[in-house]
């Protein structure tokens, strides 16, 4: 460590790679960890961006189809076999419950309504969970990244001061590389943390919007189904 630092002083090599190589094992671990965190952050960011964009597109498409006046039975038949996400999943879950209840000849309209709502809620929470997945790790990286980087800096400065004490020179050329190398850890920590914080804020907001939209749809669909139930049950009761 001391020799590396002194060698850097001798050569005047202050490039990024040499700074990294001069660093101690702890600082190196911190740096590597922070770079990994940065990679993970950006992976989540890219993934979320793509999935949210796709989900939004699917929502739009589904809503277009749903409100187009198409028969819900038909829509259900087309969607039932697919892997559905978002609004479609909620729709399919509700329709499946509806179908099952009517095929077996449900007697209580209130019980049917409640079952359909439950099924929609479960699906909705599952979908919302999918949207919010991994946002927690973004939050962690955003808040802990600077601290981890600071830890690396403190350790690096400690070791570089020890090296200075060993070399018995207070020349700035001796002090500077060690501090620069230690500060690199904080820099990497900030580089990882800042996008993580921004992305976390953005994606939590997006996920909130998405689940609100899903809830709105679920309520609307629940109202439609409730009307349908009333319409279907009254003729039966009248017939009896």
């Amino acid at each position: 460590m001391e020799q590396a630092g002194l060698a850097a002083v001798a050569t005047g090599d202050v490039s990024l790679w040499s700074l990294f190589m001069q660093a101690g094992i702890i600082v190196k671990l911190v740096m590597v960890g922070l770079i990994g965190a940065s990679i993970w952050t950006w992976a989540i960011v890219i993934d979320k961006y793509i999935s949210f964009a796709r989900a939004r597109r699917q929502f739009d498409q589904f809503e277009q189809v749903f409100w187009s006046g198409q028969s819900l039975e038909e829509l259900y038949r087309t969607l039932a076999d697919r892997q559905n996400v978002g609004l479609a999943a909620i729709f399919v879950a509700a329709m499946r419950e509806w179908k099952k209840s009517f095929e077996r000849g449900a007697r209580s309209p209130i019980g049917l309504q409640m079952r359909i709502d439950r099924a929609m809620d479960v699906t909705l929470s599952r979908e919302a969970e999918a949207y919010e997945a991994r946002l927690g790790s973004l939050a962690t990286i955003g808040s802990a990244g600077p601290f981890i980087g600071l830890f690396g800096t403190v350790v690096g400065i400690m070791t570089s001061f020890q090296a200075i004490a060993g070399s018995k020179s207070t020349n700035l050329a001796v002090v500077a590389p060690g501090i620069a190398e230690a500060l690199l850890a904080t820099a990497i920590g900030l580089v990882a943390a800042i996008p993580a914080v921004i992305a976390y804020n953005k994606f939590t907001a997006d996920a909130g919007k998405m689940s609100a939209r899903m809830e709105g749809f679920a309520d609307e669909f629940s109202a439609i189904l409730s009307r349908q139930i009333d319409e279907k049950l009254q003729p039966r009761q009248a017939a009896q």
Binding site: G12, S15, L16, W17, I39, A43, I46, D47
Partner: protein
């Protein structure tokens, strides 16, 4: 997720590689090698206070005392000098002992001759008469000493004028008496042999003439021929011939009187210790100086100054004892300046000098009086730092009485 992780990884690698290429090494700061300016912290006293030096020497950029010979260095010495101990007293001159020794040497020879007081008185009277002619004889001789060195010479009166001329010729003030002594005591020096040879002759009034005439011839040969000398010697010859044996006796008595008087004046019981003291110099400081002497103060440069608070304390002691009469007409703008000398205990020495300026005459007089009373009443002053006595041995305090009203 895998795809996005891969993408992120690739992007990071690309960014890091780009960073390493582009941010490889920042340009080293182009720091111009500026000249280093040496900065000294100099207390203002070094420039404002007079610095130790030699009052008589030529001015130089840096005041300096006379170079010292003693090379032994004494710690914390403040006063310049060759002494081994740092003393404030000036060094006593080294020359003093030597004249005392010369005066002491002749005494034993003279002791047998002294006579009772009456004779001395007579002699003195006679001497006054005879001293008158002497200036005539030896008008050219500047030194009053001539009689003293003469007594050691064994022979009587006439030689007197003779030995004296050689001294002015030699023109050396200090060594001459010693030479004279040496001549008289040992007779080794070549100048003396001719003189004894001549001396037997003078008692006989007639014979000396040729011999003494011959002498002027001899002397020029021996030493530098001075134009006044032949005339003096001629006069001396004349007088020697004119004056009978009475004069010899009178001269003798005169010599005795002078010797005894010199003996009396030189002897001082208090100075015995100094006479016995063979050490080169007593007193003087121990601060060494190697540079040539330059103008400056005789006081050490780092003489302590009274601080403002110490001065204020002193002023406060006076003000406490000062009863300023309120309502004096024209007391505004009177400034009183008190100059006083203090001893080590803080008591006033002598009468403090009080001067007032500004305001009306009556107010000035009144305030001067009250200031003087206040100063006298507050003596001895307390809480003056003993180690700074040099600074407050003489103090000047200014007052504005209007502040006290």
């Amino acid at each position: 997720m895998k795809g996005s992780l891969g993408t992120s990884l690739v992007v990071h690698v690309v960014v890091l590689v780009l960073a390493m290429v582009s941010l490889s090494a920042p340009k080293p700061l182009d720091v111009a090698q500026e000249e280093v300016l040496p900065v000294d912290l100099v207390p203002v006293e070094e420039l404002t206070q007079m610095q130790q030096g030699d009052k008589k020497a030529q001015p130089a950029p840096k005041p300096s005392t006379k170079p010292t010979k003693n090379t032994k260095i004494v710690d914390k010495a403040e006063n310049a000098g060759d002494n081994d101990v740092d003393l404030k007293t000036p060094p006593t001159p080294v020359k003093k002992p030597t004249p005392v020794e010369t005066a002491a040497a002749p005494k034993p020879t003279e002791r047998p001759t002294p006579t009772p007081t009456e004779e001395q008185n007579q002699v003195k009277d006679v001497a006054k008469e005879e001293t008158a002619p002497k200036p005539q004889e030896q008008a050219a001789l500047p030194t009053p000493k001539p009689p003293e060195p003469t007594p050691p010479k064994p022979t009587p009166t006439p030689p007197k004028p003779e030995p004296t001329p050689p001294k002015p010729e030699a023109a050396k003030p200090a060594p001459s008496p010693i030479q004279a002594e040496n001549k008289s005591d040992t007779g080794e020096i070549p100048d003396t042999p001719p003189i004894p040879a001549q001396r037997p002759t003078p008692p006989k009034p007639e014979t000396p003439k040729p011999v003494e005439e011959a002498k002027p011839v001899e002397k020029p040969a021996e030493k530098k021929p001075d134009p006044p000398k032949p005339t003096e010697t001629a006069k001396a010859q004349d007088k020697a011939t004119e004056k009978p044996t009475n004069k010899k006796v009178a001269d003798k008595k005169q010599e005795v009187a002078k010797a005894s008087s010199s003996k009396q004046s030189d002897f001082n019981a208090d100075q015995i210790s100094t006479l016995l003291n063979k050490e080169q110099a007593a007193g003087g400081g121990a601060k060494r100086s190697t540079s040539p002497a330059a103008t400056g103060s005789t006081k050490p440069a780092n003489a302590a100054k009274l601080s403002q608070s110490e001065l204020d304390a002193l002023r406060g002691q006076i003000e406490n004892n000062w009863s300023v009469i309120a309502g004096i007409d024209g007391a505004d703008g009177v400034v009183i300046r008190v100059t006083m000398k203090l001893d080590q205990s803080g008591a006033i020495i002598g009468r403090p000098e009080v001067t007032a300026s500004g305001g009306s005459d009556a107010a000035r007089r009144t305030l001067e009086g009250s200031a003087l009373r206040a100063v006298m009443r507050s003596s001895p002053f307390k809480n003056l730092p003993a180690d700074k006595y040099d600074a407050w041995s003489e103090v000047v305090v200014n007052f504005d009485p209007s502040e006290l009203l």
